[in-house]
């Protein structure tokens, strides 16, 4: 039994924690929250410089080949530090889409630039409200040209190119689309979490290059979302852990009725419950990391379980962190709301809990077919 990260990866975690606590401090996250920039470009270059954008990318394409468990460790730290960069869009979604569906030539063209951070990618799938199973893809491609509207697109304003789902209901196909093309109109959308950009993209006869076999878009997206679910679960666990640490510290320092508020059971028990939820989520995420890094057949089940558990834990941790801080927790000035916002953003990012719960049970039914 070896159900833990290797010593090397634990060192990587420490290194990432240290790096991000300096470069993605609450102060710099706030710059994105309050400023006009859609992401922290300097942090992005820094993370690229550490080689982390290519953590799971093979060396042939310029990656660091740390494996998916390495990427999981980094994801947890990104979540812990609320890194305001398009890490998930460009790495878990765009790079992964190319890795699982791209031709050799497409990999050679795109991956090295994604690894250096020179180009940023994203996934453009949703077309309004709805979970992944309910998306009716209206965007279409005719004569190699894409038209349609995608909304929301995470990091849509930042990305240089997108993996776009188009053509039809029930199947769809994936395309690589350059977002710098004049036929693309990008509109920034007001985001619940302004530290992460969301945009509306309108395409009008924009050149689209097929990615993966035609008609298999939805299957590819599901495979992609399963992988992303594990990685985002690590971000969520990291975020929940950060909330727990914040609340714990505040509860030992803040006094009421002549004693630290952390000596009141109502606070203690609340934080004990946050701890339990976070540990269960962490354990489910570890199993997801195992399934992802070994390409196990259990991945769909492991991913959905990790997703459900982590979404729940981060929501609980973020709201109880505010509660523990009292009135201070409700201020713009305290950092609690940064996590509260991020918790909900991540909870919606690749489909919400009802969708993943249903998917989990469907996969379990399939595995245990009577």
């Amino acid at each position: 039994m070896n159900f833990d990260f290797s010593d090397d990866l634990k060192l990587l975690r420490e290194q990432a924690r240290k790096f991000l606590s300096e470069k993605s401090s609450p102060k710099s996250v706030r710059k994105i929250l309050e400023g006009a920039a859609p992401y922290d470009a300097e942090l992005w270059r820094g993370v690229a410089g550490m080689g982390w954008l290519g953590a799971a990318v093979p060396e042939t394409y310029g990656g660091a080949a740390l494996g998916y468990d390495g990427l999981c460790v980094l994801a947890e730290e990104m979540g812990h530090a609320l890194a305001p960069i398009p890490f998930s869009s460009s790495i878990y979604l765009a790079s992964e889409a190319i890795l699982i569906a791209g031709t050799e030539a497409q990999k050679r063209t795109h991956l090295p630039k994604l690894v250096t951070g020179e180009r940023i990618g994203t996934l453009a799938f949703a077309e309004g409200a709805g979970n992944p199973d309910a998306v009716r893809v209206q965007a279409h491609v005719a004569n190699g040209k894409l038209s349609g509207t995608k909304l929301p697109v995470a990091d849509g304003e930042i990305a240089d190119f997108a993996v776009v789902a188009a053509d039809g209901t029930g199947k769809a196909s994936l395309y690589l689309v350059d977002l710098r093309d004049p036929g693309v109109t990008k509109t920034s959308l007001k985001s619940l979490d302004p530290t992460r950009n969301q945009a509306k993209l309108v395409f009008q006869d924009v050149p689209a290059e097929p990615l993966g076999p035609a008609g298999q878009g939805l299957d590819l997206i599901q495979a992609l979302l399963d992988r992303a679910a594990v990685l985002i679960a690590f971000e969520q666990v990291g975020g929940a852990q950060a909330c727990l640490e914040m609340a714990r510290t505040y509860a030992t320092e803040r006094y009421a009725f002549g004693r630290p508020i952390g000596s009141f059971q109502a606070i203690k028990h609340k934080l004990a419950d946050v701890y339990v939820a976070t540990e269960l989520a962490r354990s489910n995420a570890y199993y997801g990391a195992w399934a992802l890094s070994t390409s196990a057949a259990e991945l769909p089940i492991a991913a959905a379980a990790a997703r459900v558990s982590a979404t729940d834990a981060f929501h609980l941790a973020a709201k109880e962190n505010i509660q523990t801080h009292g009135g201070m927790g409700f201020t713009w000035e305290a950092d609690c709301h940064l996590y509260y916002r991020r918790a909900k953003l991540l909870a919606t990012a690749i489909g919400t809990a009802p969708y993943w719960k249903d998917r989990l049970i469907s996969e379990l039914e399939r595995r245990n077919a009577p």
Partner: protein, 414 residues
């Protein structure tokens, strides 16, 4: 990351499986309700006899006392081997509920504080199931607040004379020995005046009375002490050190408790797939699916938390605090699953007749014993206190009973 055994672990597991295959019935899918049940309450002597036979077999094969020193008849094995044995034994129908307290708590504390004579005399018989032990801690006015106990022990020559009452003592009615905490000095603060012993349950002056539980059965008892003489040689730890010894015992208890036995995710999943509601199988209902998903992630979360603990053990590290969450999560989950399984049966849910109710009324039975699991071995609230204080490092509760002599403390009406 991997779930593979090392070659030594794999060899041990194979040995365990071979032993279990030879000596016990493997649980079948169809009879999943074999997986966990409290000790059947209708025929105690028969259950105890069967449990003793099984325990002797286990000991002869070297699977009782796996981590205990060879000197006392143990295997001298590792905690990982202990975990492996537990993982394998779960898959077989074997008697449970008789030796857990003795082997999980009483003998381990004897090993820390007992003399070589004690160990010579008791480890082997306990391991082989010849001696059964119980835990005489709780009292009518001392449960969570164990240090509030009143059973008095007064020194008289080479003996101590014990008077008082214990309560909720599981298995006292079939036990040979018990570990006992008493008050030896009421005029110092409560934690300072305690002393720890073990007693022969056949001692004159001990009276055991069964208590009927919610479930209708009686696994626990009141135990009355009237001028019971306990030799000083049976004292464990120094006079006045009883609190320290009790804490050692409770720590081993928390490591020993596992998942709450009873219907779990697989069982409610199976039930939801077979039961028909108006619109088809229950599992097609979105509300049912959401509930199932929540229990699945809790069940798996606990399972993989244990794998993390086992990894720490196999690296020779002490397991982290994650071990403390098992009972808290699993007892609550059991209660909820039992309740929901009954809801799925609709208007027939309250029927407890094993001939009529699915899985021999397993869900109904579990509903009635689950409350006990949330109280025994540290209540939910006490476990949350422990997590908050020992894991998260939050300050201890402000206490008004710490520095006051025990004899001057306030008491309640109950």
């Amino acid at each position: 990351m991997d779930f593979e055994d090392t070659p030594e672990e794999a060899a041990f597991r194979a040995e365990v499986r071979a032993f279990l295959d030879r000596n016990a019935e493997r649980k079948s899918e169809a009879k999943s309700f074999h997986r966990g049940r409290y000790i059947p309450e209708h025929n105690i002597p028969e259950t105890v006899r069967a449990a003793k036979q099984w325990q002797a077999k286990k000991a002869d094969a070297g699977f009782a006392g796996i981590t205990w020193p060879r000197q006392w008849g143990g295997r001298g094995g590792t905690p990982v081997q202990q975990v492996i044995y537990g993982q394998e034994e779960q898959n077989y129908v074997v008697p449970r509920g008789v030796f857990e307290i003795g082997l999980g708590m009483c003998i381990p504390v004897l090993m820390v504080y007992g003399t070589p004579e004690h160990l010579e005399g008791h480890v082997r018989p306990a391991m082989r199931g010849e001696e059964i032990w119980c835990q005489l801690f709780s009292e009518p006015s001392a449960g969570s607040d164990l240090a509030g106990l009143r059973t008095r022990a007064v020194r008289d020559g080479d003996d101590w004379v014990v008077n008082g009452q214990k309560i909720w003592t599981s298995g006292a009615h079939f036990s040979n020995y018990g570990i006992l905490v008493t008050r030896t000095d009421p005029d110092v603060p409560k934690h300072a005046g305690l002393t720890f012993f073990f007693v022969d349950m056949k001692s004159p002056g001990i009276e055991v009375r069964r208590i009927k539980q919610i479930s209708g059965g009686s696994n626990f008892n009141e135990v009355f002490f009237t001028d019971v003489r306990v030799p000083d040689s049976q004292r464990l730890g120094k006079v006045g050190d009883g609190w320290k010894v009790s804490i050692t015992t409770l720590m081993t208890e928390r490591l020993a408790v596992g998942d709450a036995p009873g219907p779990d995710f697989d069982d409610i999943f199976a039930l939801a797939r077979t039961l028909e509601l108006d619109a088809g199988p229950a599992i097609r209902n979105p509300a049912v699916r959401e509930k199932l998903a929540d229990w699945y992630v809790k069940t798996q979360g606990l399972k993989y938390t244990k794998f993390r603990t086992m990894t720490a053990l196999s690296r020779g590290e002490t397991p982290g605090p994650e071990a403390s969450i098992t009972k808290l999560v699993s007892a609550n989950k059991l209660q909820d699953i039992a309740s929901y399984g009954i809801d799925l049966l609709g208007m027939a849910g309250a029927v407890m007749d094993p001939e009529v109710a699915p899985m021999q009324a397993w869900f109904q039975e579990a509903l009635l014993y689950a409350p006990g699991l949330r109280i025994a071995g540290g209540s939910d609230e006490i476990l949350r206190n422990i997590i908050a204080e020992r894991v998260l490092g939050l300050p201890a509760d402000i206490r008004i009973d710490k520095d006051v002599p025990f004899s001057q403390l306030k008491t309640g009406k109950r």
